[in-house]
Amino acid sequence: MDKVTLLLSLAFALFTIGLLGVIVRRNVLVMLMCMELMLNGVNLSLVTFAHQMGSTVGAVLVFLVFVVATAEIAIAIPIVLLLVRNKRTLDLAAYTELKG
């Protein structure tokens, strides 16, 4: 198993674990962290491809993903705090009325 295969497998595994966490966990903050894990898996695959091709495009994209992840957290945490202030719980089952 060469290096690229190993890193790609790790990236796929991280993304899948993050997806599984978003689906099965109840806690809103834990789901947010699992989304961060998915972003990390994508970043790892981008860095692996950039390393393999010797091009800077993947690295630029990783940098932009960093910024987008920061913006996402900056807006997601206030929303979570607001939800918790209303419902007094982090449990996602309390927010089913948001289904629309």
């Binding site: 595994a13 689906i23 834990v30 947010l32 393999q52 800077t56 690295a59 807006i75 206030p78 719980t89």
Partner: protein, 174 residues
């Protein structure tokens, strides 16, 4: 000993990969949000180690500085702000546990199938693998300056939105 030194890079890479995977797996089974956050931080640090081993040191530095230093510290503050006696923390999994596992396994199988069915990207024929900060900086500010500006606009929008969310909440309370 000589063999160990010759393969040190590969051994460290495998070690970091296994540790990152263990941290990610712990995120699924731990109950307290703070422990999940610590598992995620360890995963991110090991990923930073992998980036360093691949020779992209600036991305490793950004991984630790931005992800661990900014995003996760913010997350840990949010966890500390919330009530630890929350009953929602006590129940770990939603009712979607079995379908979720099935979907994730199918998804992983599909990813692996696609990646190994299509021959992966042809290996770089003789060209330089890896690149330094200099090539990155030149490419970044020559070709991708517009994207850089757009992300700064996105950050401003996020900050304004966060302030707006807080103001809406204040208006409701009084």
């Amino acid at each position: 000993m000589a063999w160990l030194l010759a393969n040190l890079d590969t051994l460290l890479l495998v070690l970091f990969a296994v540790c990152a995977l263990i941290g990610a797996g712990l995120m699924l089974v731990l109950q307290q949000p703070m422990r999940v956050a610590l598992a995620l931080i360890s995963t991110m640090v090991f990923l930073g180690g992998i980036y360093g081993l691949l020779g992209v040191h600036f991305i490793a530095a950004f991984q630790v500085l931005i992800y661990v230093g900014a995003v996760m510290v913010f997350m840990v503050y949010a966890i500390m702000l919330l009530d630890p006696r929350d009953p929602g923390v006590m129940r770990r999994y939603s009712g979607l546990l079995v379908p979720g596992v099935v979907v994730a396994a199918l998804f992983l199988a599909a990813l692996g199938y696609v990646a190994w069915q299509d021959a992966p990207v042809p290996p770089n024929a003789g060209g330089p693998t890896g690149f330094g900060l200099q090539q990155f900086a030149v490419a970044f500010l020559n070709e991708y300056w517009l994207h850089f500006e757009l992300t700064s606009v996105l950050l401003v929008a996020a900050v304004v939105a966060a302030i707006a969310v807080i103001r809406v909440n204040r208006g409701e309370r009084g």
